[in-house]
Symmetry: C2
Subunit: 212 residues, 2 copies
């Protein structure tokens, strides 16, 4: 499935031609993200990633210091990937602010359905696993949530100005509430193999921020 039938050659790669051989690294990141969003860090073995990417072990340790360093790269890559995905919905000014958040929800629903509810959120997965993870991951994960939180808070602020959201609660608090609950909803969607938990949470969240 994650086939990369490129027959790798040993030794230093040719220079100009082929636009660089950097895609081995890219492949490892892509396959690693798929594996970790599905099964988490602890249970995912390097061998499995390597097999799927058709990359020998020696290559892995050329591109990454060890599994921990690889994990950090994946967290950052996922954080960026997801922030972009989020922004595509949140910056759609053809929609009212709250509708932009709903657009993200719908986008995420489609994403989970596409993989039959096997893949969740990498950051949520690793947060859950934190006790079994290198302590160095903790701040990376926290910072990723902060980033996403700021983006939702920004839109909630706009919603307040547009009168869609009551002026009582602070956008920052509401945004934090959103991500706390959202990760729970993703978890539950994986368990139930259904997008119903995502809808259920989104509906409640919308009712909450609209009300006084």
């Amino acid at each position: 499935m994650e086939s990369t039938p490129v027959k790798r050659k040993r030794g230093r790669p040719p220079k100009s031609q082929n636009a660089g051989y950097q895609d081995t690294r890219q492949t490892l990141i892509r396959v690693g993200l798929a594996a970790l969003t599905e099964k988490g860090y602890s249970y995912t073995g390097l061998d499995e990633i390597l097999r799927q990417a058709s990359v020998p072990k020696g290559s892995f340790y050329h591109y990454f210091e060890n599994k921990e360093a690889f994990g950090k790269v994946l967290i950052e890559a996922y954080g960026r990937f997801f922030a972009e995905k989020l922004e595509r919905s949140l910056s759609d000014t053809s929609l009212q602010p709250l509708a932009r958040i709903q657009a993200f929800v719908d986008d995420a629903k489609a994403g989970m359905q596409k993989f039959d509810y096997r893949r969740g959120c990498l950051i949520g997965n690793l947060g859950q696993e934190m006790a079994a993870l290198p302590e160095s991951f903790r701040n990376l994960l926290r910072e990723t949530f902060q980033d996403w939180e700021a983006r939702i808070a920004r839109v909630l602020g706009e919603a307040q100005q547009a009168g869609e959201v009551s002026g009582q609660a602070a956008p920052g608090s509401m945004a934090q509430f959103f991500w706390i609950g959202w990760e729970g909803a993703v978890l539950r969607a994986k368990l139930e193999k259904s997008s119903q938990p995502l809808d259920q949470f989104a509906e409640g969240f919308m009712a909450l921020v609209r009300s006084s």
Copy 2:
């Protein structure tokens, strides 16, 4: 820490006296629960549980068919344990219905703090890990949530009758929303090493159910 300095004797145990030697099994369950609430199923090795419990491998396979069967027993044990814990708060008729839910929240907060936010919810942990788990766990986990959900729904119904909660939303839906978000809050509390996420979610939930 999980010391069980009982010097185990080989061979068939004495009959009446000592009230049975069933506590080897109990010890395995107790230590197993501690390990799995902390690090999940995949990352927890049998050897580690056995070491902490000072139980040799032969004993384990006497009491349980294999790790999967052991896991199922742990899910059931945790479900019961937690339902009792929950009921202690939810059936406290000296409190108004919503205050009983708040009492559970406070109880859970204390519980997480006690273990320095290392231990979370076994059911949530395993739900998150589901992609790496025996498929036979799925229904057990679902059923556990259903049980907890019914208990919260019951109290929310009482809150509605007492006029604490608006009559608009169905207690069942609100209860489902509660557990979806609660598991997210526990996850986040572990990551942040703080009970703030638990409070943040509980506050939002209370505001939601009170409002129309």
